[in-house]
Amino acid sequence: MQKAEKNLILFLEGILYSYSQVFFSKNKTLAFLLLAVTFFDWIAGISGLIAVIITNIVAEVVGYRRAYVSQGYYGFNSLLVGLGFGMFYQPGPAFFLVLGFAALFTFFLTIWLEGFFAKYGLPYLSWPFLLSIWMITLATRQFTELDISDRGAFLLNEIYRYGGIKMVNLYFWFNDLPIHEAIRTYFKSLAAIFFQYHLLAGILVSIGLLIYSRIAFMLSLLGYFSAYAFYIIIGASITDLNYSYIGFNFVLTAIALGGFFVVSSKYSFLWVILLTPITSIIIVSGNAFLSQLNLPVYSLAFNLVVLLFLYALKFRERNTQKPELVIAQYFSPEQNLYNQKNYQSRFDPTAYLPVYLPVNGDWTITQAHHGEHTHREEWRHAWDFEILDDSGMKFERNGFEIRDYFCFGQAVMAASDGIVQEIIDGIPDNSIGEMNLDNNWGNSIIIKHAERLYSKVSHLKMGSVKVAKGSYVKKGEIIAAVGNSGRSPVPHLHFQIQPDPFVGSKTLDYPIANYILKEKDHCKLLTFAKPGHGQIVSQISKTGTLSKAFHFVPGQTIRFIQYDQDKNESKAIWEVKTDIYNYMYLECQETESLAYFYNDGSVFNFTHFQGDKTSLLYHFYLAAYKVSLGFYPRLRVKDSFPLTAFKTGVQTYLHDFVAPFFSFIKSGYQLDYIGFEDHLNTSRAILESSAWLKIKRRILHRSEYKFEIKDGRFTHFEVKHKNIRLVAREVSE
């Protein structure tokens, strides 16, 4: 595609998304519906469109970030101002002149407020619209060249003019539909967001919401009806809701706090109900204040309540508690919910810095967290490591000497990058059975990895410390040897994570980023887990061919030749790119699909996919969702996908309605390490994986994959999905 053509498409998208962004959405169907709704009053429609176009052109020409323009970030406030302006005044030269500058003014307000609120990590919502429309309303009262619109007063005349008597009859029939007043007001409130008062407009917006997001649709009902109930309970006039259909404040607040900025759950739903009275207080009090200036409150209540609540949530100490804020914004309550839940199950968000095992090879945990001997009270989150042979013995010969013990003298490594904070050395290694209670911890090293994140290894061999205080160590760097100093009757390694830099510090309940758990006849890959008592664990030791194959470097191009079941040949070309947040992804040249990944050097993860769900990249995403870069015979890796990873159907649509509360669709990923041949200069690994989605026993999706990776290349990648059979091989240079 040409660059100019691409930019034009981005620009058109920017206009379209300016409409859907009013509901925090990037859904094109919703955007088209909303665009259509604004043209219920075609002057308002044109006025809104002009305001968006002007704003986006200015943003583009002056040089604002294209990604933001094309997502409608700057356009939606101007759209609202344009719509309002179009409703109030009749078109004419002065009208368009003022409209243009109103759009410009709104845009600058957007930029200022974006910066202002960004400092607090808060969104600017429709504050620019509010400030702008109020000021313009106040100012234009003096602009005598502008004609006040009287279209609303002569609505039936207008309808007759365009559609004759049939249209008028239709209008009446539609308006007289036997719909309960509460529901009628709900629809009209939705329409009112776009300065429309037609029932049909509201119904269209509502349909658009349903298509965009089931959760947002439910929230719109919840927000509106909890307000309705509240007004009945407190005996306030229901006409308040009716009056200028101010009910949309409740709807927008509900969507924003029930699923968009906050991960939807029963808690977020409860908070939506609890915040209703606050919203209504702001509406009433705001109205009392603004009515002195003859200004409507518009969305003031929504803007204030959302800011208040988000601010309150942001500055909690335990901010992982419910309700949780959305971390990565996918512009859909469903996506936010599914992705965040899935992310939390895969990666521990509290483990902000990965910490690994401090030893290489197979070690047995002889005392885990809450251990029976010494891992108690403040020091309960620690591990003891020893080496046991196949028969469970810790030593050879008779075990009377410390050198008989398998672990004695083994290398101890830095658990993660950091700076050596403290070193204790010079405490002699005990004879077997003796303990040195005067120097409890024995020879120890404390490494600082981050603020309030230190790791400590203890009972080291005297004189084995290889690092100096203050030196920088890399993950896996050998720092000392296992010994038997301190309170240690037999050689072992004590390892703990702690929040303070002191030798006697209390411990921190912190997971190990990844390790291999060895069981009787197979191995498992565990991520962000805590080794348990008696388990045999091993640091992942990279296998050259696997780590090379999955080592994607930005700028690299990966080419595949693929054959489908009919032997048709085609090419797939993926580029490795990084976004501004330094997240890496593969981009398929053909389909523009993106697959985000994360590789910490020992495990490769795909984190997100967007785009064509028939592409080879999509299947690669499913197939290599989580890969241990170390090959272990009979290793099995398991994981789960977010629901949004799969094609949606009726079942997933229905599932969306209950998703905030429970889940009846399960997804799964399994990767098996089948075979490995190492010939030193060349090696070959065979892996098989599968991805599935199912309700109880009903399978909605199942695909199976096979990898053959030779010398760091995907020499064979096989896809089996329904009746699709793809065979691909890498042909990168």
């Binding site: 050879e396 290398a411 896996g476 200069n681």
Partner: protein, 452 residues
């Protein structure tokens, strides 16, 4: 009751209850059974003399050695040294245990292939590899350990012809602080020959330099030497990384670990002087782990241990032919096993146990073989109980080299029997026959007739 055998009266110095400097007198205990199979029955079934191998001992020793290393170093691989014992059955046991093959001649190479070893798992050592051998090794993608520059040039010539990329390593010799320095094989480390060879290989760009090999000696009683060897090879490996950004995949430290046979002239028995597998593992793994390899790319450690793995599993069973007194009055015993079968008696003082109960009298005895040659002595001087004609005895620790270096001299080679894990016996090499020997010979027509 069986009639007691007559024993000649003997006047002997009293030895008190105190042990002598060689330990207590308990060295001589009858060995009536091997892995539960009676020696007497073995001899009556398979004839005397007879080689017996214990599969159980082979496997146990291998696993003990493997554990000693794998507990200390994450990546290790044994390669069975064919020259130590290349009977198909023995090799196959090691291959079942996971060992690769290490061969030093075209004959051994073919033997390894013939029992099903993949060419990729054969290490080809030795100074005499013919162009045909090398061609075969390149075609089979074996690991070729280059011994001298002429071999390197032959390989380069062959590459052009075969259009294949061979996997090679060089053998390095060095001063590890032990005497004698084995400097006849490979390229010297100290004088720069090793770097010369490495540079030539890297410059050719036509082969994959995958490893570095050395073999510092035999029957090494010092573990330190291995630590030094590992460190010197590591120096080359890290040099290659710096200079060519080339990663060496393995370090092969060869063999040379001692068995439990006592060397001639040793003051103490080998049981007390030979370092254990654990001691060697400790020295080698420390040297490698403490080197500056990035933790992710530690090289594979290959060991070509032969003797220490198999010696103990071999027994040689024989029968007494006669007793004599020498001119000095020393007791001499003539047995049916000579240096033709017990080649290692040239350097070991093999332990010999009678195979039946005997009286507690011992006497310094010279054990002569049956060959009609003066050098045929299997023990110059051993404290032996009195053995009579027809008595059986067992020579210990004969698994290494005897079944490859034995001679067909004035007689034919006997059966070799393997006792498996369940105590069943298998002839793994049957005795040679006259007709087989005659088959190889050809008598020219004009020599066929003679009259005496």
């Amino acid at each position: 009751m069986e009639k007691l055998r007559y024993e000649r009266p003997l006047i002997k110095r009293m030895e008190g209850e105190m042990p002598n400097k060689f330990g207590s007198k308990s060295e001589n205990k009858p060995l009536t059974h091997i892995d539960g199979v009676a020696v007497k029955e073995l001899l009556s079934e398979y004839g005397s003399p007879l080689f017996v191998l214990s599969e159980k001992t082979i496997r146990n020793t291998f696993r003990r050695a493997h554990k000693a290393f794998s507990m200390r170093y994450p990546k290790m691989q044994f390669a069975w040294s064919y020259k130590t014992n290349y009977l198909d059955a023995v090799c196959s046991i090691y291959h079942q245990e996971g060992a690769w093959a290490e061969v030093v001649s075209g004959f051994e190479y073919d033997k390894a292939l013939s029992i099903g070893v993949d060419g990729k798992h054969i290490i080809f050592n030795g100074p005499d590899k013919t162009a045909e051998d090398l061609e075969k090794a390149i075609q089979n993608d074996s690991l070729i350990h280059i011994d001298h520059l002429d071999e390197l040039y032959t390989i380069i010539e062959l590459i052009e012809k075969l259009e294949k990329r061979p996997r090679v390593a060089i053998r390095v010799n060095m001063d590890t602080g032990v005497y004698p320095i084995w400097d006849r094989f490979g390229f010297n480390y100290e004088n720069g020959q090793a770097w010369d060879a490495l540079n030539k290989i890297m410059a050719s760009g036509k082969m994959d330099l995958v490893g570095l090999h050395c073999h510092i000696g035999t029957y090494m009683l010092s573990t330190k030497a291995y630590g030094i060897a590992a460190a010197k090879l590591t120096d080359l490996a890290l040099g290659l990384r710096r200079r060519y950004n080339h990663e060496i995949k393995y370090i092969d430290l060869g063999g040379g670990f001692p068995s439990r046979n006592t060397l001639k002239g040793a003051y103490l028995p080998a049981l007390d002087t030979s370092p254990s597998f654990e001691d060697f593992a400790e020295a080698i793994s420390s040297a490698l782990l403490n080197a500056e390899y990035p933790p992710d790319s530690l090289p594979l450690l290959i060991l070509e241990t032969g003797r220490a793995l198999v010696d103990e599993a071999g027994f040689l069973l024989g029968t007494v032919i006669s007793n004599k007194r020498s001119s000095t009055g020393k007791r001499t015993t003539i047995v049916d096993i000579g240096i033709n079968l017990l080649f290692t008696s040239f350097w070991y003082e093999h332990k010999i146990s009678p195979a039946q109960e005997f009286s507690s009298y011992t006497e310094e005895t010279t054990m002569y073989g049956p060959l009609c040659m003066n050098i045929d002595v299997i023990r110059e001087s051993a404290m032996m109980p009195l053995l009579n004609k027809g008595d059986h005895f067992v020579i210990h620790h004969v698994g290494a080299y005897n079944m490859t270096q034995w001679m067909q001299f004035i007689t034919l080679r006997p059966n070799v029997v393997l006792i498996d894990i369940d105590g069943n016996t298998h002839v793994i090499r049957r005795n040679e026959t006259m007709s087989e020997f005659k088959n190889m010979e050809h008598l020219p027509e004009h020599l066929k007739n003679f009259e005496l």
